[in-house]
Amino acid sequence: MLETHETLKEGTQPGGPGVDKPTLTEREFTVKERKQWQMALRRFLRHRAAVVSLVVFVLLVLFAFVLPYFWHYKYTEFVSLCTQSNGLAGPCSPSLKHPFGTDSTHDMLAVTMRGTGQSLKVAFLIAAVGTGAGALWGVVSGFFGGFVDSTLMRLADLVLTIPSLALAAALAHKGGGSLVLIGLILAGVAAPYVARVVRGVVLSLREREFIEAARALGASNTRIMFRHLLPNTIPVLLVNATLLIAQGILAETALSYVGFGIQSPDTSLGVLISTNQGAVENQPWLFYFPGVFIILIALSVNFIGDGLRDALDPRQTRERK
């Protein structure tokens, strides 16, 4: 871990009262100052699964947002049908022309690209907004305590008692299936969960001595909340965010399944799965390709979250093989 360098710059010698000037032998062991992000990167790279997942995830993003520009079918475009073994016209099975096959009207690859993109957008919106709002909610609640805490936590209880899918369905229906609205609603429903977890962590953190130390230095409440309490909840936030991404995709699927999610002709992985589940027997490609993409997103995000948690934890020293 230690990096050595041969020359010691002038004026940066360790010294001060009672410390001898470094001798030649000590120079060999003088430690170069390391940048924080370098160390985080180093720790992240040590996490194999996370690195692989990151590559997979980048490919997914390219697949969803860049590939559509180069693929000769659009997801809105109608394609001609194929003649099937029984002589009737029907969906094409995967071929060079349609690598993912087609359903009765569209090229499946183009549709899956669009679906992956929309699902990723919704999932990340839910994770970012839900975790962000929940973290803020929990930190304020836990830090101030007393009346503020009671009010905010009763509010959280209130939101948690509402059946979230019904609420989302009702609200999303009014908004006409807009992706941003669906994301925001699902995020709002997820935030109280995060808030409760974060509040619990903050309640124990704020009694720690380093918080009192910050106060003794003259730090304001805002500074204590955002510079000391929030950074110390990062592991919890990351775990919650990665879970929320997976949950978000599923929630959007559920919403689409009951018909209140993203509306046709737009699509998402959830919509694809729910509309094509009847085709598992005869046209399995219609169901399995979107399904594999849901699993890929959820898995890679979870591993990346795991790696990030290790990388951002300064106490993490475990060497990974």
Binding site: K32, L217, G218
Partner: protein
């Protein structure tokens, strides 16, 4: 063995050029309410953590607060820095009463008063590296001028406390205990304070490192002209560093004196007991001397003993006083005053002893007859004064001790069976 010169002829300790105290604490008290369990959480009592504590700190002076665990030392330190609100009394910092100041108004004053915590493992934010930790006070008070200059300031501070500035991007957990305490000291020094509250800064460190940190503190005091409020339970450390010592027992000051004076002639029985626990470097003397052993536990600060708080464990109360004198201890709260000793002690029957650290000296420095001890029994009026920390209890019934009462080994008053 020569007897140390004692008695009224001893010249008072050399007057120090002092002027106004920078910090002056008067009648400071802190009560923590105890609440009942259940829904209503009624207040059922108070923990009298700190009660009627007064002392001054002058510029460039080291005042040590000493006492056993739970006696209110740390609470006093927190109160001085206004980290917890005081129940009553005042903390005057250069003419400004901190107990009435708002937390916003307190913030600029924090520049001048800093604290080093006891536990170097808990008092540093685990998610900040050393540069950030040391830079934080500068940033808070707007003294971090630009990334380059600020970095330079932090490097200087780290070098000052004997840390390698190249380690600035490391995190607190990567350092040893002594190094972490140095980080804490560097952080406290960043704003060039005038008063440093040191809350047992070396108790969490092992002895070899203690010396290093103590010497560092002394050097820094000289360099910056700091005043120290040094909280500790380790008398050998205090003897080394202190200018003045305040001895606390169960939330009250029992004795206060210049350090030399206190170590030469401790006059409160509790101080004497503390002193007798200091190991002597000479094994012959160590074997010869009689230890003063305190029996029993510290009484609960929820309901401290009436009269003198130390009487339940006081060897003098148990062994040397007669019942008329004991009535004073049981009923009347001893005031902190200079009796016949040159310094203040809160004991009705204070008398200096010099034989504790100077084995072989006269057992008692001044014959008891010379002391201005109270005579007879306290009057009903004297004995029923309300206690200073629980005035709401009002006047009390005087406790009278008849002749057939003795004190048993636990310090309890028992009626002798005839």
């Amino acid at each position: 063995m020569t007897t140390v010169e004692l008695g009224k002829q001893t010249p008072p300790p050399a007057p120090r050029p002092k002027g106004e105290p920078v910090l002056s604490v008067r009648n400071l008290a802190k009560h923590f309410p105890i609440r009942s369990k259940g829904l209503i959480r009624r207040k059922v009592g108070d923990v009298h953590a700190v009660c009627d504590v007064s002392f001054d700190i002058y510029d460039r002076e080291t005042v040590c607060i000493v006492g056993e665990s739970g006696c209110g030392k740390t609470t006093t330190g927190r109160l001085v820095l206004n980290l917890i609100p005081a129940s009553s009394g005042s903390v005057v910092w250069r003419g400004q009463d901190l107990t009435t100041i708002s937390s916003r108004g307190m913030r600029p004053l924090r520049r001048d008063m800093q604290i080093v915590f006891q536990d170097p493992f808990a008092s540093l934010d685990p998610r900040m590296n050393v540069n950030e930790l040391v830079a934080e006070p500068l940033r808070i008070h707007g003294q971090y001028r630009g990334e380059n200059k600020g970095r330079e300031q932090v490097r200087d501070l780290l070098a000052q406390v004997g840390l390698n500035p190249e380690h600035g991007s490391r995190y607190a957990h990567e350092f040893s205990g002594g190094q972490r305490q140095r980080i804490g000291i560097a952080r406290a020094l960043a704003l060039k304070p005038r008063l440093l509250v040191l809350d047992e800064p070396v108790s969490a460190l092992d002895v070899s490192i203690q010396a290093g940190v103590i010497n560092l503190l002394e050097d820094l005091q000289e360099e910056y002209g700091l005043a120290f409020m040094f909280i500790s339970h380790d008398l050998s450390v205090i003897r080394h560093i202190a200018d003045r010592v305040v001895v606390m027992y169960l939330g009250k000051v029992v004795e206060t004196a210049e350090a030399d004076e206190l170590f030469r002639r401790p006059s409160h029985p509790y101080t004497q007991a503390l002193m007798s626990a200091i190991p002597l470097p000479d094994p012959v003397k160590e074997r010869e001397r009689k230890r003063i052993l305190l029996t029993g536990d510290v009484p609960s600060p929820v309901s401290p003993p009436s009269g003198c708080r130390f009487r339940t464990r006081c060897p003098k109360f148990a062994n040397e006083l007669d019942n008329a004198q004991r009535e004073w201890c049981v009923n009347v709260e001893p005031a902190l005053e200079a009796k016949f000793t040159a310094h203040e002690a809160a004991c009705h029957f204070a008398s200096a002893r010099t034989d504790i650290l100077e084995v072989g000296a006269d057992m008692r420095a001044v014959p008891a007859e010379l002391a201005q001890w109270p005579t007879g029994r306290p009057s009903d009026e004297q004995a029923s004064q309300p206690m200073s920390c629980a005035p709401e209890d009002g006047a009390r019934e005087p406790i009278r001790i008849s002749d057939d009462v003795t004190v048993d080994a636990e310090g309890e008053l028992v009626v002798e069976e005839s």
